[in-house]
Symmetry: C2
Subunit: 485 residues, 2 copies
């Protein structure tokens, strides 16, 4: 039976979802560790025991393997791998992107993936590099789309879930065209393809553009797989944009390369004097013991999987609490390139605000970037609906006054609020540090919304002397009176 | 033998140190878990096996305990606790601060602590609450100082290490007086006392003021203990100010209260749907299983200790790499009150810059706050030493030109640099996101230093049109030419 995807909880564009055929279930966001049967560092059964209920493996490698081709065809993948969860197979597209050629056709790989009993089947799409020229991207996209059509006819979608990869290189209009076509063909499991070169080169700003474009033209009910994304430091960012599934050989490749993953980046193991992690590997070894262990590669792979899994859990908890922005902020500051990506995402906050949830557990201010969060935008959009009289006071220190028809209090970065909203989200559940200029400026932008909604009212701001110049700069039409304290 | 403290590595005012008597050794920063012999949730031996080489316990409780007083006196604490590491004992000051009275004298507790074989002995100082009025703080400080003098005469410092607590409430001059007296008396193990009410109420801004004041007047060779600090989210901040030792019952108290610690805050266990951690407790239980376990309290305490230990390791690695500012930034954004504390610390960056190390592994820009880091201040202090001719070009896009005597390149937030410095720290090892206004503004402040050093030279800035208004605002005396690209 093919897999059905259901969204259970949402925050920003991220969600907790369930991908299930009734027997096998994967809760998302999830990472599918890559299994290479020729490199049994961590076995599929190990993964299952660690709590991974899905994995991805390469059908092309299996189809070309003397050792595994026949057993896979005879026993089926699940028996061969001793893995009762969901198995997704890649088609050979990866090899195509690396070697430029594969010895299998689209229908050839689709048939093979069905024959070995894969749960999620990928057509032989063409992953066009983000640096390819427009003509090439167009040509290869046309080819990918025709192969998707062919796959739609070829694959028994009652039994198998067919993935519809979205290509289009770095051209927004081509990514849009790809996403629209994939939607139109009815795909509900959509990998966003060929982004690995962007991630490998820390081009997160471009990654955000690609993902945001694709997401905008894919159905919100589709399960989105960010193909090849596997570093825990970028899960939060990708999930915030609406990605549900990651996959990666990174845990193993990094281990082979003596690299130690963390949720905030990676260390070369020989550069570590201390193991900054609570996992059993790091609790039972010193940095030196780990470095010198004969089992180093396996231990590192295990550590990498533990932190990867912990980060997925953290993302899920953040969605549950409605504090995914805070996790995005935390993770993205760990590398300046991720910070560029985060700031790029914030330029789309208007789009994200439309669908963001109304109430959240809390809003913690984490720096100037927090002024641009969806919660602030949503709040500003609500301000024109406040009722107000002909004379309005916005009181920074929450002083009531009978000299005005309406008194609003003020909480940066949101802005003016009627006293009766002081317990509701976000006013009541937001915590901010000592006021800074960025947040007061953003709060004043909220007062602008009020002025625009009541152009005939007279607005006065009561504030401390230190804020008066900023208030006068932002709101030249208002009167300013000073706080009594 | 009493303990000797040695600083091994430094970053900001933080350090990795070694506290040792030749047999027992504690590497700092370190946390001393609190052991209450009446609540054997986690035993001292458990702690030792987890890698904790020091603990703290309350001599007053032991002295008043029917069960433990005699065994402690007979066998000594180390045998009673089956703990071969360093044992510090508190005197009863904590009880004094909570109950206002204790049934023991200063010399009484000092004698008892020696008799049970404590390694680090604390006099009966008076922990004056940060909200106490000046007269009370003065009076109690005078009493504390006289008890410290008494202790100095009473305790055999060849055998025992005597702690010299620094009190003084929230009054900077009294903290200064306390620290100067403690220094003068020759204490080399100095707890900063009575800060728990500040931490419990998230008053991190005030905590920073207190610690920075004390540190300024204590010898830099002294081992500094931040008494009662035990939440991993604030270790980095405290270490950056020069604290070496923490202690806390928090791991156990939080567990009792069903609270789950993380390096970024705490969760109530019933609010967790997922366990966002790699430790063995969290790997072997779902949130629900943990919540419903009969062993919940012990498991939570274990988890809390694992994450506490991992954070200490992370802090040590950050000092080793010279990236402690980045960890401070990461941790302090997790709560707005910590962010206020962090920003308060940045107001002392000039003081910290004096002693900060010259070269570091890297500088990652993490937001506007990074502009105020010690590395930027040190760099600005170096700018006047650059040599330059009568005509100077500062080229934002690193274009060479023969029309000027001297050409500098420009890297925000640092500012102008001679091309030959491009590989040296911080220019060569700094990574920044796409330029933002804060960093360019700070870089321009670097150009101001250059102009001040060469008042007779003519300075021209070559930049993109988007930066021209900012450059002209910051540097009205310079000529601006546009980049050719």
């Amino acid at each position: 039976m093919s897999l059905h995807f259901e969204v259970l909880k949402e925050d920003i564009a991220g969600r907790i979802g369930r991908l299930t055929d009734g027997k096998k279930t994967l809760y998302t966001p999830a990472i599918l560790p890559v299994i290479n049967p020729h490199v049994p560092l961590i076995t599929p059964r190990n993964l299952w025991d660690m709590g991974f209920t899905a994995l991805i493996t390469n059908a092309y490698i299996i189809s070309r393997s003397r050792e595994f081709r026949e057993p896979a065809l005879m026993q089926g993948l699940h028996t061969l791998y001793d893995f009762p969860g969901i198995i997704m197979t890649d088609s050979g597209s990866f090899q195509l992107s690396v070697y430029g050629d594969v010895k299998i056709s689209n229908t050839g790989t689709l048939r093979f993936q069905q024959d070995i009993g894969s749960d999620i089947i990928v057509p032989l799409d063409i992953p066009t590099s983000p640096d390819s020229p427009r003509e090439q991207v167009q040509e290869e996209l046309a080819c990918t789309l025709s192969r998707l059509l062919e796959a739609k006819e070829f694959v028994d979608e009652n039994r198998y879930t067919l993935a519809g990869p979205v290509q289009g290189g770095s051209f927004p209009d081509l990514r849009k065209e790809a996403a629209e076509n994939v939607s139109r063909m009815g795909f509900s499991f959509c990998p966003i393809g060929a982004v690995v070169p962007l991630m490998e080169n820390y081009r997160y700003k471009e990654l955000v553009d690609v993902v945001m474009t694709c997401k905008q033209y894919l159905p919100s009910s589709a399960c989105i797989h960010l193909f090849g994304a596997g570093h825990p430091s970028m899960f939060a960012l990708a999930v915030a944009m609406g990605c549900d599934i990651f996959d990666s050989a990174a845990y193993a490749l990094y281990a082979k390369d003596n690299r130690y993953m963390t949720s905030y980046g990676s260390h070369k193991i020989h550069e570590l004097s201390y193991l900054p992690c609570a996992c059993e590997v790091c609790q039972n070894h010193t940095a030196r013991e780990l470095r010198e262990s004969e089992e180093r590669e396996r231990l590192l792979a295990l550590h990498n999987l533990y932190v990867t899994k912990a980060e997925i859990q953290r993302v899920k908890q953040a969605i549950t609490d409605g504090i995914l922005w805070e996790l995005v902020d935390e993770r993205c500051r760990s590398h300046p390139a991720l910070l560029s990506g985060y700031r790029q995402l914030l330029t789309s906050a208007e789009i994200l605000a439309d669908k963001d949830r109304v109430s959240k557990r809390r809003f913690f201010y984490r720096g100037a970037e927090s002024c641009r969060r969806t919660e602030v935008i949503r709040y500003h959009a609500m301000i024109p609906r406040f009722s107000a009289g002909a004379t309005i006071l916005v009181s920074f220190d929450r002083e009531q006054s009978k000299d005005y028809d309406t008194v609003f209090f003020f909480k940066p970065p949101f802005g003016p609020y009627p006293p009766e909203l002081k317990e509701t989200f976000p006013i009541g559940q937001s915590e901010i540090p000592s006021w800074d200029e960025d947040m007061v400026r953003t709060g004043c932008a909220g007062i602008v919304k009020l002025i625009q909604a009541y152009p005939d009212s007279s607005v006065t701001v009561q504030c401390q002397r230190r804020w008066a110049p900023l208030v006068q700069e932002m709101l030249p039409s208002v009167g300013v009176v000073y706080e009594t304290v």
